[in-house]
C-alpha cells in the first residue's frame, strides 16, 4: 500500500489543498497572462537604470579608469567591492539547489528555481566589474590561457586573480547548466499549454522533452551528480575570491580566516537577497501557497546562523590582530573601527552582527514585513563589509605620505546602480517567461509534504489513538 509520510512536527510545504493540475495552473499563469501594471513599471524602471549604467560603463571605457576616484594608494574601490558583493549574492541559489538537495531538504523546492536564476544574474553583474576594471577591456582575452602570438606568453597560473577567472566562469557555466536542465521539463509544460508562436518558441527551448520514464531517471541522476559537483564548487568560489585578499601582504587582508568567513558571508547575503526577491515575487504572482511562511522561517534560520558565524569572524579578526603582537595588523584593525571610515565599520557591525539576532524570535522570523526590511539591511551590511575590507585596509599605506581617502565618482556609483538595472531586468524577464517555481519538483513532493492533498489516492487521516492512516481510493 502506498504510504504517505506525514510529520506531526513539520509544516506542509504546499498549502491550499492542491491537485497536480492546480499546481500547473498556479505556477504557469504568470507566464501566460498579460503583465500587470506593477510588472511594467518595474521593468521600465529597471531598463532606465540599466541604460544609465551602460552609459557610465561607456564613459569609463571611452575616457579610461581616470573617470573613477581610484588613486595610487587605493587601487580597488567600488569596482571590487561591488564584484565581491554580487558574487556573494550569487551563492544562495546553488546552496539552495545543490547543498539542500544533498541534505534532502524538501523546502528547497519552493524557492530553488528563482534562487538559481538570481544566482546566474548576480554572477553576470559581478563578472562585469573585474572586466571593466581592466581598463582596456578590448584586451580582456589576455586573461585566458590560449596559444598566442605573444611568445606564446601564458597567464600566471599561480595567481589567485587567475584562479578567480576559472572559478567564476566555471561557477557561472555549471549554475546555468544545472538551472536549465531543471527548467526543461517545466518549459515542456508551458509548451504543451501554449498555442501559436508561443508554442513554437517553447518547443524550441523545451528541447523535445517527453517525460519518458528513462529520461526522468537520467534527469534525476544528472541532477544529483551536478548537485554533488556544485556543492564543493560553490564553497570554492568564494574561497578563491577570498584568496585575492588572503594571499597578499596587506594588513587586514592576509588572514587565514578569510575563506570560511567569506563563504559564510556569501550565504548570508545570498539568502537575504533571495528573501528580498521572493517576498516580492510571492506577493506579485500570488504564490503564497508555495512559498510559505515556513520557507521564510527556514531561510531566516540560515540567516541567523551565517550572520552569527560572520559576527564571530569579525571578533576573531580583532582578537587575532591584538594577539599577534604585529603592530601593522593592530593598527589596521584599530583604524578600521576608529579611523576615518568608522561609519562603514559600524554600519557593517550593526547590519550584519546585530540585526540578524532579532531572528532568535520566532515571531519575527515569521513576519514577512520584518524579514523584508531586515533582508535589505543585511545586504547593505554585506556591502559595507566588502568596502571595509577593501578600502579601509588600503587607505592607510605603510608610508604615511601615501595615506589617502577615497569616495566614488558619479560614474562609479552609476555603474553600481546599473548592475541593479541589469539584475532586475533579467529577473523580471525570467519571471514572465518561465515558471518561477519548479513545477515538476513541487508535484514530486506534493503527497509527502503537501497540505491536505485531495487528489486521487489521497490519504485520509483519522486522528485516532493509534495514529493510523488509511488510504481511500477516489472515484475515477
Amino acid at each position: 500500500m502506498h504510504h504517505t509520510v506525514i510529520s506531526p512536527i513539520r509544516e506542509p510545504l504546499v498549502e491550499g489543498a492542491k491537485t497536480y493540475h492546480q499546481i500547473t495552473e498556479d505556477i504557469c499563469s504568470p507566464a501566460e497572462r498579460a503583465p500587470n501594471l506593477l510588472w511594467i513599471v518595474g521593468f521600465v524602471l529597471s531598463l532606465i537604470t540599466l541604460g544609465f549604467g551602460l552609459a557610465c560603463i561607456f564613459i569609463t571605457i571611452w575616457w579610461g579608469i581616470g573617470t573613477w576616484n581610484l588613486n595610487r594608494t587605493i587601487g580597488w574601490g567600488y569596482d571590487i567591492t561591488n564584484f565581491v558583493w554580487w558574487i556573494g549574492i550569487g551563492h544562495a541559489g546553488t546552496l539552495i539547489s545543490a547543498i539542500l538537495l544533498l541534505f534532502r531538504q524538501k523546502w528547497r523546492t519552493g524557492v530553488n528555481r528563482a534562487a538559481e536564476a538570481m544566482t546566474i544574474f548576480a554572477v553576470m553583474c559581478a563578472g562585469l566589474f573585474p572586466i571593466i576594471h581592466m581598463g582596456r577591456v578590448w584586451l580582456a582575452m589576455f586573461i585566458l590561457p590560449y596559444p598566442n602570438t605573444r611568445g606564446p606568453l601564458w597567464v600566471n597560473f599561480n595567481s589567485p586573480l587567475l584562479w578567480d577567472v576559472f572559478a567564476i566562469s566555471t561557477y557561472f557555466t555549471v549554475s546555468l547548466l544545472f538551472w536549465y536542465t531543471g527548467l526543461v521539463p517545466d518549459l515542456a509544460t508551458l509548451r504543451d499549454r501554449a498555442t501559436g508562436l508561443r508554442k513554437k518558441i517553447y518547443s524550441f527551448v523545451a528541447f523535445g522533452w517527453t517525460g519518458s520514464a528513462k529520461h526522468w531517471q537520467r534527469w534525476e541522476s544528472l541532477s544529483l551528480v551536478l548537485a554533488g559537483l556544485a556543492t564543493p564548487l560553490v564553497l570554492s568560489v568564494h574561497t578563491i575570491v577570498s584568496f585575492d585578499f588572503a594571499t597578499s601582504v596587506i594588513p587586514g587582508w592576509h588572514t587565514t580566516i578569510f575563506p570560511p568567513y567569506f563563504v559564510a558571508g556569501a550565504i548570508f547575503s545570498g539568502f537575504a537577497m533571495v528573501l528580498t526577491l521572493m517576498i516580492v515575487t510571492r506577493k506579485l504572482f500570488n504564490l503564497q501557497e508555495y512559498i510559505t511562511l515556513a520557507h521564510v522561517e527556514s531561510m531566516n534560520k540560515i540567516i541567523l546562523l551565517t550572520g552569527s558565524i560572520v559576527g564571530v569572524a569579525y571578533l576573531t579578526e580583532l582578537f587575532i590582530a591584538w594577539y599577534s603582537g604585529y603592530v601593522y595588523e593592530q593598527f589596521a584593525f584599530y583604524n578600521r573601527a576608529l579611523g576615518p571610515y568608522w561609519w562603514a565599520y559600524f554600519g557593517m557591525m550593526a547590519c550584519n552582527v546585530l540585526s540578524p539576532q532579532f531572528f532568535w524570535s520566532k515571531k519575527l522570523r515569521r513576519s514577512v514585513v520584518f524579514t523584508f526590511w531586515l533582508s535589505i539591511f543585511i545586504n547593505i551590511g554585506m556591502w559595507f563589509e566588502r568596502f571595509v575590507i577593501i578600502v579601509i585596509s588600503l587607505h592607510r599605506d605603510y608610508l604615511p605620505s601615501s595615506w589617502s581617502y577615497y569616495s566614488p565618482t558619479w560614474v562609479e556609483i552609476g555603474i553600481y546602480i546599473g548592475t541593479f538595472g541589469l539584475f532586475f531586468t533579467l529577473f523580471l524577464i525570467f519571471a514572465r517567461v518561465a515558471p518561477v517555481i519548479a513545477i515538476a519538483e513541487i508535484k514530486h513532493i506534493l503527497k509527502t509534504a503537501g497540505d491536505q492533498y485531495t487528489g486521487p489516492n489521497a490519504t485520509v487521516h483519522h486522528h485516532d489513538d493509534h495514529g493510523q492512516s488509511e488510504s481511500v481510493e477516489a472515484n475515477h
Binding site: Y20, T189, F207, S212, Q217, A230, L233
Partner: protein, 177 residues
C-alpha cells in the same frame, strides 16, 4: 525516411494507479513501449525494471579528463614551455595548481555529463519529439504500447488491460518513429 507507428496508450490520473498498472503489465508479460509522467515518480524505474543510469560514470570520466587537462597544461607551461620564477617558488608548484585543477574537473564533468544526457535522450535545442497527449506534462500519467504488428485479439487484450487497471482514458495515435 519517416515511418509511422501505431501507439495505444492509457492515461492514468495518479501515479499510484500507474504503478499498479505497470506491475500488472509486467505480470502479464505485456511489452511496454514507454511510460510518460509529469514528474519523476519515485520507484518507477524499479517497477519498470529499468537498469540504473550510467550517466555518473560518464561524469567521472569527463571529470578525470578535466583534472588531467588542467594539471598537464599548467605543468607543461611552467616547466617546459615558458618557465618563470614567481616569488622564488619552484617551477612545478603543485599546491598553486590545485584551485584551477579543481575548477576544470568540475567544469569538464558538468559540461560532459549534460551533453551526454541530452545526446543519449535525443533531446536538444529545437528538437521536436512526438507527444502522445499534452496533459502528460500537466497531471496525466501515460502508459503506452506499440500496436504495430499486433492482431486484433492482442489489441483487444491491451484495451481490456487498460479497463481493468482503471485507466481514465484510452487512446490510439500514430506517431513518427
Amino acid at each position: 525516411m519517416k515511418t509511422e507507428k501505431e501507439v495505444l496508450f492509457g492515461l492514468y490520473n495518479d501515479e499510484v494507479d500507474l504503478m499498479k498498472a505497470i506491475k500488472v503489465a509486467k505480470d502479464d508479460h505485456l511489452e511496454i513501449m514507454d511510460v510518460y509522467t509529469p514528474f519523476p515518480v519515485h520507484g518507477l524505474d524499479d517497477v519498470m525494471g529499468l537498469s540504473e543510469s550510467r550517466l555518473h560514470i560518464a561524469g567521472f570520466i569527463f571529470g578525470a579528463l578535466g583534472t588531467l587537462t588542467a594539471l598537464g597544461v599548467m605543468s607543461w607551461v611552467f616547466t617546459r614551455d615558458w618557465p618563470i620564477i614567481f616569488g622564488g617558488k619552484p617551477y612545478f608548484s603543485l599546491p598553486a595548481f590545485i584551485p584551477i585543477t579543481f575548477e576544470l574537473t568540475v567544469l569538464f564533468a558538468s559540461i560532459g555529463m549534460v551533453v551526454t544526457f541530452y545526446t543519449i535522450c535525443g533531446l536538444g535545442p529545437g528538437v521536436v519529439n512526438p507527444i502522445l497527449d499534452t496533459r502528460i506534462t500537466d497531471d496525466k500519467f501515460c502508459l503506452a504500447f506499440e500496436t504495430d504488428g499486433l492482431n486484433t485479439s492482442e489489441v483487444d487484450n491491451l484495451k481490456r488491460f487498460f479497463n481493468t487497471t482503471a485507466a481514465a482514458e484510452v487512446h490510439t495515435k500514430s506517431i513518427s518513429n
